[in-house]
């Protein structure tokens, strides 16, 4: 929940609770952002808002609570998000509904509207994207539409903030007045049957909160909850034959054996009437819209997939090439900063804690901020332009063969940014088996926090020209391993029938710079905040564990040796040896040595083993741990103080490859694991994930290590 003012609303009379409802991708979240200056996540595909979000704000003398509900095409329980919306609208307490509709596609949007109108709730319709509609030459007569529907319709544009105040004023006005009866009228046979049921309920003075008309419509539509309510009432015995007769009558009229289908047709014909009355297409519709022209290239049967791969390749090239430019300065800044701060601290232990612990650890993580920013911009572009759904379309055939659903692509790509929102967006998958399978695979998509590890190792072992390609290969092979894992899981643990694939392909939209800037800024700040708090604390812990217990005997032994030598080089050798010996007998060294045999077949030394273990807390900690360990450890000569050099000097190529493989596959960070467990619904799935990823990571790393050893 987001509390915009940072204060909670006192319970007073002037409180309006608004439910924001609309079909997916009509700009509900964007509307809420422009109403309240909130910063909800906005994207151009269905399923951005997966849970209801509350936003509070004040307007005139009123306290508003706006509940942003996940988009829903109709009143069905097809996906989890649709269930969230449906349940909320039917069971929760709220004052008024704002129905957000896309003015450029009214006919489709009214399908949900007409269902909302049959509920006994106050409704205000927000005709969103009015500016876009105008550009396309579509004119909507809002006044006439208000009159025809019996609910106020207000033209707004969330993007340009047009009509927002009018909308809120209209909400207040509607809130203050009694509800007008809806003017939604069905065909004659349906109206006849509604009248008959209403008459019957009226005769028996049936007590209900909803209007009789509303109950009658729900009964005719086979609404389960209404049935349950009436089922235990004595009037049921008489009502049942009336309903059976009514259903037969309506089905006969529609030449169908499905009452829900019949009602959908009823709504559709009502909507066609409304659209014909209020919408005017001024300019001639072009034969091919811009979206279709772009699509003819981007989802071309042969070119589509190569184009997509090219985009991804370009993104990772940029991530490395452009991201590397400021790295040198950041690195320089932190070593200067460490030296400057260090020279002001007299106490050896405290200086070491600050310089080698906190500054080295945090610095190692901050170093990768430029890379992170570029990756986030790429993902934000993918999300906001509408290209994501195209890729889902292109890849569905291939995904389907791997046991995944085309729509799994959306959470999977989100997983390249961060696993946490990815786990949440898996809710767009309707079927629990598909969703669980996708949850298990998301971890294979390397998240942004793992990028620093890859950049570090790619920089250490490959030439700068190759490093971008290496990044691309790492990400793609991670995804490939994920697909193979999906197939294996589908054939074993998640056997079952395939779910249908029916997905909307949104219009292409040019993302606003503001939106991208905002998304990227929030994510980057989160990364930096994590570096400043969690990573700093973890670095202190790692520093402590690697410095204690002090071994006086060792220090004295080397102290004497160092004093007795005159040769500077020899002195340095002894100093290094002391550092190495001290580190090895520290707490961390003990842990590392203890787990070293487990990782020995993969060619990891104890430092790498420790880094992997601390990485369970967060993947950034892998880099900060290595930073602390190598800044304390063996190589303390001046020219070689950068971490990249330390890594390329101390770690063999084969071990490095095995290390990358483990990082790619093993358990995601603590926070992500918690979200995974919540989304999967049971703690047992966490243990499955732990076992699955550990076994996969270990065996693949073992294979990779030996293959590389064999060839080098």
């Amino acid at each position: 929940m987001i509390d915009m003012q940072g204060k909670s609303c006192p319970v007073i009379a002037n409180h309006v609770k608004v439910a924001l409802v609309g079909q997916p991708n009509v700009g509900k979240s964007m509307l809420i952002n422009s109403v309240s200056n909130a910063h909800l996540h906005v994207g151009n595909f269905s399923g951005v808002t997966v849970d209801k979000t509350e936003v509070l704000f004040d307007y005139k003398e009123y306290h508003f609570t706006v509940v942003d509900l996940p988009g829903t095409y109709a009143f069905t329980d097809y996906t989890i998000e649709e269930r969230v919306t449906h349940d909320y609208l039917c069971a929760e307490d709220y004052d008024i509904i704002i129905n957000v509709v896309d003015s450029t596609n009214l006919a489709k949007n009214l399908q949900l509207t007409s269902e909302l109108l049959t509920m006994s709730k106050k409704v205000v319709i927000a005709l969103n994207m009015s500016d876009e509609a105008e550009k396309e030459g579509i004119e909507v007569n809002a006044e006439y539409m208000s009159e025809l529907l019996g609910v106020p319709c207000v033209k707004v544009s969330a993007a340009t903030k047009m009509g927002i105040e009018e909308l809120i004023d209209e909400v207040l006005l509607t809130h203050e007045h009694d509800k007008e009866t809806s003017k939604l009228i069905f065909s004659e046979p349906v109206e006849e049957e509604i009248a008959r049921i209403v008459w019957y309920l009226d005769k028996h003075k049936y007590e209900a909160i909803n209007s009789y008309r509303n109950i009658a419509i729900n009964l005719l539509k086979n609404n389960k909850k209404t049935y349950e309510k009436l089922h235990d009432n004595p009037i049921w015995t008489e009502l049942q034959p009336i309903l059976i007769e009514a259903a037969r009558h309506i089905e006969l009229h529609h030449d169908s054996d499905d009452i829900k289908e019949s009602f959908a047709e009823e709504y559709a014909s009502f909507n066609r009437g409304i659209v014909a009355e209020v919408v005017q297409q001024k300019t001639k519709i072009e034969k091919k819209t811009l979206t279709e022209k772009i699509d003819s290239v981007l989802i071309h049967p042969f070119l589509g997939i190569p184009i997509f791969l090219f985009f991804m390749w370009g993104l990772f090239q940029l991530t490395f090439e452009v991201g590397a430019i400021p790295m040198e300065y950041i690195d320089g800044f932190f070593s200067w900063f460490g030296d400057t701060i260090g020279s002001t601290i007299a106490n050896d232990d405290i200086r070491s804690l600050i310089v080698d612990g906190i500054i080295a650890g945090v610095g190692a993580v901050v170093l990768f901020v430029p890379n992170i920013i570029i990756l986030f911009i790429g993902i934000a572009l993918l999300e906001s332009t509408g290209y994501m759904s195209r890729v889902a379309f292109l890849l569905d055939g291939f995904f389907h063969k791997c046991g995944l659903h085309g729509q799994s692509f959306i959470p999977l790509v989100t997983g390249f940014g961060c696993s946490i929102p990815a786990y949440m967006s898996a809710r767009i998958l309707k079927n629990d088996r598909d969703r669980l399978l996708t949850l298990f695979i998301i971890g294979f998509m390397s998240c942004g926090a793992r990028l620093p590890v890859y950049v570090l190792f790619a920089g250490a072992f490959f030439s700068p020209e190759m490093a971008g390609n290496v990044l691309f290969i790492i990400y793609i092979s991670g995804a490939m391993i994920g697909l193979v894992a999906a197939k294996i899981l589908k054939l074993t643990a998640f056997k079952g029938v395939d779910e249908p694939f029916v997905m909307e392909m949104p219009k292409y939209r040019l993302p606003s710079v503001k939106l991208i800037w905002h998304t990227v800024l929030t994510k980057t700040m989160m990364y930096l905040k994590k570096a400043g708090t969690f990573i700093a604390a973890a670095s202190m812990l790692v520093w402590f564990l690697s410095n204690y217990p002090h071994n006086v005997v060792l220090e004295e032994k080397y102290g004497v040796k160092i004093e007795n030598t005159v040769n500077e080089d020899e002195k340095r050798v002894f100093e290094n040896q002391l550092a190495v010996d001290l580190l090895e007998q520290s707490y961390l060294g003990t842990i590392g040595k203890f787990s070293e045999p487990i990782f020995a077949p993969l060619g990891f030394d104890w430092k790498m083993s420790v880094a992997l273990q601390t990485g369970l807390a967060a993947k950034e900690v892998v880099v900060s741990t290595l930073g602390v360990l190598y800044s304390l450890g063996a190589d303390v000569d001046e020219e070689n103080n950068s971490l990249i050099n330390a890594i390329s000097k101390n770690i063999s190529f084969a071990s490095a490859i095995a290390f990358i493989v483990v990082i790619m596959i093993y358990l995601p960070c603590l926070a992500a694991s918690v979200v995974f467990t919540r989304e999967a619904g049971h703690i047992k799935y966490f243990f499955y994930l732990l076992a699955f990823t550990s076994i996969a990571a270990y065996s693949l790393a073992f294979i990779a290590y030996n293959v590389v050893l064999y060839f080098s």
């Binding site: 095409y73 029916v502 392909m505």
Partner: protein, 84 residues
């Protein structure tokens, strides 16, 4: 009407070529999928235009009203259509 001719008449969306415009005559989908198709506007008498096929015809993009929808071959085969 000969049986052969009847077969020609009851074709599904999957049989349509690219850029073909057809009208829905019947939905053979069951329960939830049917609801889903209907909520996307794919219902009796709706006009559908075939926009694009994915490689190997595994997925198909159609246009209903102003909305573009992606369907898998299996789902498209459940939608009976006739030429208009």
């Amino acid at each position: 009407m000969s049986p052969k001719k009847e077969n020609l008449n009851t074709k599904t969306l999957l049989d349509c070529k690219k850029a073909c415009v057809v009208q829905v005559t019947k939905l053979n989908a069951k329960d939830e999928l049917k609801q889903r198709l209907i909520s996307f506007g794919i219902m009796k008498e709706a006009t559908i235009e075939v926009l694009e096929y994915a490689p190997a015809k595994s997925t198909i993009e159609v246009k209903v009203g102003k909305m573009r929808i992606a369907l898998r071959d299996k789902e498209a085969a459940l939608i009976e259509v006739e030429k208009i």
